[in-house]
């Protein structure tokens, strides 16, 4: 493991645009895109598989070995996109690599193009194609039809490979076609791409950031008075009359009808309505007695709801900013960041800390 992080140069050494990549290479890239998630992990998600898929194209356009190393390294950035639509991003990134665009621009375009595809692909495949084809073929299978799995596989894979190959070719053509207009204003393009890039990372912090401190801290108890109403004979009602209690000091469960001065107490009935305690003679030898019971309920202080009232997703934001600070100012390597998070995760989960609830 490298102790000093590899630095990706701003510009490639060889800035001559490479010749157009041939169809065979594009096909190899589309086939390799099947292994997009081969090294899926929670740090950079699909990055290893992405690089694996890009390699045929990168080898063609970067004949300078140092440039190839730089390109391979920055193609390991965080990426999370839809596996069946990834070739769309690959074609665009390849056209940028071919024209030796600034590395920062390529990185910003890649994250911006890749991120929104997830939702589109989910809607197309997992929410449309699979439910329909699997729904029909499942019922065939339950009926014992051996053709069911085969029909499912054929339909699904025709759709999948049409997407992979079609998008690869189309987006590469679009990318190489649009590149001249963009490179004429390279500085502005890099700036615009970075603006979109940081904007999207800001969005991802919310949409993918689920970390929350679910700590609850016991915070004493609260005292209350719960009112009960009973109808008893006038004689029995007399027994209630002397239940004068100091409700501030009485134990939980004590019954009271008045305070020490003999005034009625303000309590809440079962429906939460405010009532005053006291005895009302109903005039038929019976009395309606409203008395109060002293209650004591534990109060706990929820860190999560306090944090949410300041700013929802505050914890993901704080962690991203902390890591940015460590990477940008303290020369932290990614692996150190990972170890830090493993430490926070496991220490926070220890039974005596129980940060995650």
């Amino acid at each position: 493991m490298a102790s000093n992080e590899f630095v990706v140069p701003e510009r490639y050494e060889d800035l001559t645009p490479a010749p157009q990549v041939d169809q065979k290479t594009l096909n190899r890239m589309a086939l390799r895109s099947c292994w997009l998630q081969s090294s899926f992990n929670y740090e950079t998600m699909q990055s290893g598989g992405w690089l694996f898929a890009m390699i045929p194209g990168l080898e063609k356009v970067h004949t300078n070995k140092k440039d190839l190393a730089a390109s391979m390294y920055h193609n390991l950035d965080f990426i999370n996109t839809h596996p069946f639509l990834v070739t769309f991003v690959m074609g665009i990134v390849l056209s940028l690599e071919q024209n030796k665009v600034d590395t920062q621009t390529i990185r910003a375009v890649r994250i911006s193009a890749a991120s929104p595809l997830g939702g589109i692909g989910d809607a197309l495949f997992w929410l449309t194609l699979v439910p329909i084809t699997a729904g029909i073929t499942s019922n065939m299978a339950i009926a014992g039809n051996i053709a069911a799995p085969i029909i499912f596989l054929v339909i699904f894979n025709i759709a999948q490979f049409a997407c992979r190959f079609g998008l690869m070719n189309w987006s590469y053509r679009v990318g190489t076609g649009a590149i001249d207009a963009l490179t004429a204003n390279m500085q502005a393009f890099t700036r615009a791409a970075s603006i979109l890039g940081v904007f999207v990372v800001g969005c991802l912090t919310v949409t993918m950031g689920a970390t929350q401190i679910n700590l609850t801290i016991p915070n004493g108890t609260t005292r209350g008075l719960v009112a009960h109403t009973v109808v008893v004979s006038n004689e029995d009602a007399e027994n209630f009359a002397d239940l004068a209690v100091d409700t501030d000091t009485a134990e939980a469960g004590t019954l009271a009808i008045s305070d020490m001065e003999g005034n009625g107490l303000a309590a809440a009935d079962a429906d939460g309505n405010a009532v005053t305690t006291g005895i009302t003679d109903l005039g038929n030898g019976m009395s309606s007695v409203t008395y109060a019971e002293v209650t004591e309920t534990p109060v706990s202080y929820s860190v999560a709801s306090t944090l949410d009232s300041v700013l929802p997703k505050l914890v993901p934001l704080a962690l991203v900013l902390l890591l940015y600070f460590l990477f940008a100012k303290k020369n932290f390597t990614p692996i150190k960041g990972i170890i830090l998070l493993l430490f926070i995760g496991i220490v926070g989960a220890l039974p005596m800390i129980n940060l995650w609830g």
């Binding site: 090294s39 950079t44 603006i195």
Partner: protein, 265 residues
């Protein structure tokens, strides 16, 4: 029902392939409708396998790996359901229900695995520094084989040992360690985000980051647009970036013209 060594090896191999296929390759061979029939064929009862696979498949519709979420693992669930139905003569619905805890265990295992696989990326980075494309292929294969073998070993153990083994494995891991590792896994994407920010961020761009953060908070709390929120947000971000591009390029043109700002003022 007695199982022989050939059947055990075949179940191992099918699981190995299905485990890899659930994330890569055809991403369809692993579906229970397929694995059910294959396991059924291996265990000598293809018809039961088909029925269990179809039943399990219907259950998983609407329980897909959407938005990076891990549903109960369909590889382990589908294969175990077929195994139960074929070897224990369970009714298909019963077999599917019995397989659910195994699927949950698989879901759990996948989350842990994705957390613990992050350090493997250092080997990819090392290969990239040396422009060693062959090493990338090597590590891709190694990475896939680790996943396949872990799944295959677990399913084979369940296959031989049955329900008791599954419970023992669950009990062996303390709950707080599970929580800690999955929380750490949850946070690891922030490392990826922070690296991206480090590359793209200039002093004058923090505003755009916080604008994205704020708009995403709003969008993700509006139920009707929470699903396609990221696409909608990217369109907004694109508009801002495009406007900035036009400002920058027009400004450049204006400077070339001698800074003649006359129109509209």
């Amino acid at each position: 029902m007695d199982v022989n060594a050939v059947q055990i090896v075949l179940v191992f191999l099918v699981t190995f392939v299905a485990a890899i296929d659930q994330f890569d390759f055809l991403e369809s061979l692993y579906q229970p409708i397929v694995t059910g029939a294959v396991i059924g064929a291996i265990l000598g009862d293809i018809n039961t396998g088909l029925i269990v696979g179809g039943t399990y498949q219907l259950m998983t519709i609407g329980n897909m790996p959407i938005g990076g979420a891990q549903p109960p693992n369909a590889v382990i669930g589908g294969i175990m359901a077929a195994v139960f139905a074929c070897t224990l003569d369970m009714d298909p619905d019963m077999a599917v229900a019995t397989a659910i805890p195994f699927a949950l265990l698989g879901q759990y295992g996948v989350t842990l695995f994705f957390t613990l696989r992050a350090p493997l990326l250092e080997f990819f980075r090392g290969a990239a520094e040396n422009a060693d494309t062959k090493a990338i292929t090597k590590w891709t294969i190694i990475s896939e084989c680790i996943l396949g073998v872990i799944f295959a070993v677990i399913v084979t153990l369940f296959f031989i040992g049955g329900l008791a083994v599954g419970q023992q494995i669950v009990d062996a891991i303390p709950a707080w360690l599970n929580t800690g590792l999955s929380q750490a896994g949850n946070m690891m994407k922030f490392v990826g985000f922070a690296i991206l920010l480090k590359i793209m961020m200039n002093r004058d761009m923090w505003g755009f980051f916080f604008m994205g953060f704020g708009l995403a908070l709003i969008a993700s709390n509006i139920e009707a647009i929470a699903g396609p929120a990221l696409l909608i947000l990217t369109l907004i971000g694109f508009g801002i970036a495009f406007w900035d591009f036009q400002q920058q390029t027009e400004l450049k043109g204006a400077v070339a013209d001698g800074g003649d700002f006359t129109d509209g003022i």
